[in-house]
């Protein structure tokens, strides 16, 4: 049952990505291009998602626990460290080069085009490389958020 719900939520997320334009790199790169062919559409994606999530999360966190799990899994770190900011800076450079963030890319994989598949393989390689760097430097596990 948990898996059926997870599939359905992934489907909903993916359709939202495709309708919104987040899966279209031309649109994403134009959103970043203030000095050129600026397309502000993606601000509306963020606005819609944040509006629903901010209200929805408040309602959900009134529940004792999730419907099909023992507890809510939430990040507990509070401090702004160099790993957070440096990693985010690197991600932004990557996003600006390819036009694909992870959430925008995965639904597009379903179209079977070669460019997105190449990007996905590169992201996987990056994830594995960064985990290795983290193990070497921090001796800890990467926190997925």
């Amino acid at each position: 049952m948990r898996l059926v719900f997870a599939f359905a939520f992934g489907l909903l997320f993916g359709i939202g990505i495709l309708i919104s334009g987040m899966g279209n790199p031309a649109k994403v790169l134009n959103f970043f291009d203030f000095a050129g062919t600026w397309d502000p559409s993606l601000a509306f994606v963020m606005g819609g998602a944040l509006l629903v999530t901010a209200i929805g999360y408040r309602l959900v966190f009134r529940m004792q626990k999730p419907l099909l799990a023992q507890s809510f899994s939430l990040p507990t770190k509070q401090d702004l460290d160099t790993r957070l900011l440096g990693g985010s800076a690197i991600f932004g450079i990557g996003w600006g080069l390819s036009g694909f963030c992870p959430g925008g890319l995965i639904p597009v994989l379903g179209l079977g085009m070669s460019g997105p598949l190449l990007t996905a393989a590169a992201i996987a390689a990056g994830i594995v490389s960064a985990r290795w760097m983290i193990r070497l430097n921090y001796g800890g596990q990467p926190a997925g958020a």
Partner: protein, 142 residues
Amino acid sequence: MTDFTPLLSFAGGTMIGLAVVALMAVHGRIAGINGIVSGFLTTHLTQDWAWRAAFLAGMVASPLIMLGVTGQLPSISIPSSPLLLAVGGFLTGVGTTLGSGCTSGHGVCGMSRLSARSIAATLTFMATAVATVFLTRHVFGG
């Protein structure tokens, strides 16, 4: 040029938000796509692996369901060369793993909880993405 699509983009955003809220309500999990992909890339095939695989399968199936409902596939246009896709993808994987999140994890889930870490991360990756596009399109390119 791409068309300005405020209504469609807002509607898509609300669907993303609904999926994010539903995953928290039912599974108690943050819908950070990079975190889900990262948890999927493991050799330990536990229950946690299974829901992530199911969520990702739903995402990958979304274009086909859209085709079935609307009769057309979304238009995707990729301006970047394969080299830029590979380099950009690699940096995306490295950066989101070191930074513990991407557009969905920090930008949607974290910012909606008013997490200081997520707000700082989102401002940072938005700023470097804008700077990168400025450099590739207006300084070195075009």
